[in-house]
């Protein structure tokens, strides 16, 4: 027998709920003409049918996982690729920053000024550290 889908189980839950509502309405309309035993019987039936409906709604929500497996894996893959592209575009700024620091460093080396070399080296290292 084929397995029921989440949608079919939810439809069953709707039917059970409608059945419980009908039992409840019947009891309200005929309360005074029914015996206590009949009232109790209808009340107990309504409770049971409502419990089935409640459990079926929960089951339908859980079974959804079977229906979304493929979509979940596709969207996760697309999201991962989007994040990679985003990171690549962010890294463009890092490359520009490194290039700027490298130019400053080269200038300092050419100038042979020890203080400038120390400052520029610090700048380049800081820039590289920020990227990694």
């Amino acid at each position: 027998m084929a397995k029921l889908t989440s949608q079919q189980i939810k439809e069953l839950a709707d039917y059970f709920l409608a059945m419980a509502e009908a039992i409840g309405d019947y009891r309200i309309r005929n309360f005074h003409s029914l015996t206590k035993a009949q009232n109790d019987e209808l009340s107990a039936s309504s409770k049971q049918v409502l419990q089935f409906a409640d459990e079926l709604y929960t089951l339908a929500a859980t079974l959804v996982l079977d229906d979304v497996q493929n979509s979940l894996s596709t969207i996760k893959q697309v999201t991962g690729e989007m994040k990679n592209t985003y990171q690549k575009l962010l890294q463009v700024q890092d490359a520009l920053d490194i290039a700027g620091s490298a130019v400053t460093f080269c200038k300092a080396v050419v100038s042979l000024n020890p203080h400038s070399i120390i400052v520029a080296t610090g700048g380049l290292i800081a820039c590289l550290k920020a990227v990694h």
Partner: protein, 284 residues
């Protein structure tokens, strides 16, 4: 004269390319960020399958005047919550990625970092005039934006195309779990209360005053449940609008320059904003 004319044309071409890129992606960015914001209302719902289960369990104990601390078995409801959360996180992650990638500030690179490291004296020693460096800066800025925006546009098209079908399925099932299954459980709860309070108001051992109080209590509780259902219904409208807007975006990926398409995307963003307002009013 000819060289100047050629330079101007070239500059105009880059300018147009860049501005067009910005405009296209701006609407994609607006749509995806308002979609993301609206989807996040899931975190404000403040109700779940597990909470519903615990409420029912406590209600039964109260009705039976039971003070024995029995465990409430809500394992199945916890599973339903975790499935719903998995779907929500996948949808949110996708919209978050799209919103980040389409944001124009992403490619607002500071290309003057290199030029800044050269001072006025360097220009002289290298035989470069400052005006040339400034001109290079302007051109490179335009080129950078044009290139990166073109890259972004092509990538976004690829992702939107690949993400459309799964997004439709996932928003559909998220909606199914909340506005049909969870709301269905609330309908069950309403019927249980109706049955219980009906018996209470027909209990001959209670005074009229007690029966009136019971009836008032019943209507208060029904109103509270219906407020939760309104929240779920509004969230359902948000999910449908987001899926609809994304479909529109996918259908028109090749014609994003068209005014008509942009207007439709603006309309979707605006409708989503209205739904967020509607949701917040109910949730208060």
């Amino acid at each position: 004269m000819n060289r100047l004319f050629f330079k101007n044309i070239l500059l105009l071409f880059f300018l147009v390319t860049t501005l067009t890129g910005c405009v296209n992606l701006k609407y994609v960015s607006d749509f995806s960020s308002s979609s993301l914001k609206s989807i996040r209302n899931f975190e404000e719902i403040g109700y779940s399958f597990t909470m519903n289960c615990l409420e029912n369990c406590q209600e039964e104990k109260v009705n039976n005047l039971s003070f024995i601390a029995l465990e409430c078995d809500c394992q199945a409801n916890k599973s339903a919550d975790s499935v719903t959360l998995i779907i929500y996180n996948a949808v949110k992650g996708y919209l978050d990625g799209l919103s980040n990638l389409s944001n124009n500030s992403l490619t607002n690179y500071k290309v003057n970092v290199v030029a800044k490291s050269l001072n006025q004296q360097d220009y002289k020693s290298l035989n470069i005039e400052k005006t040339h460096v400034d001109a290079w800066l302007n051109i490179s800025n335009i080129l950078f934006k044009a290139f990166t925006n073109k890259y972004r546009r092509s990538k976004i098209k690829e992702y939107v195309n690949a993400g459309n079908e799964p997004l439709k399925v996932l928003t559909g099932f998220l909606d199914f779990n909340l506005s049909e299954n969870l709301s269905g459980k609330l309908n069950v709860q309403k019927q249980r209360l109706k049955d219980y309070y009906f018996d209470l108001t027909n209990d001959t051992t209670l005074s009229t005053f007690e029966k009136r109080n019971a009836a008032a209590d019943y209507y208060n509780r029904i109103n509270k449940i219906e407020d939760k259902q309104k929240e779920l219904t509004t969230y359902s409208k948000i999910l449908k609008k987001v899926a609809g807007g994304h479909q529109k975006l996918t259908d028109n990926l090749q014609r994003l320059n068209k005014d008509e398409v942009m207007e439709q995307l603006i309309q979707y963003s605006s409708d989503i904003q209205d739904l967020i307002t509607e949701y917040n009013k109910i949730a208060k």
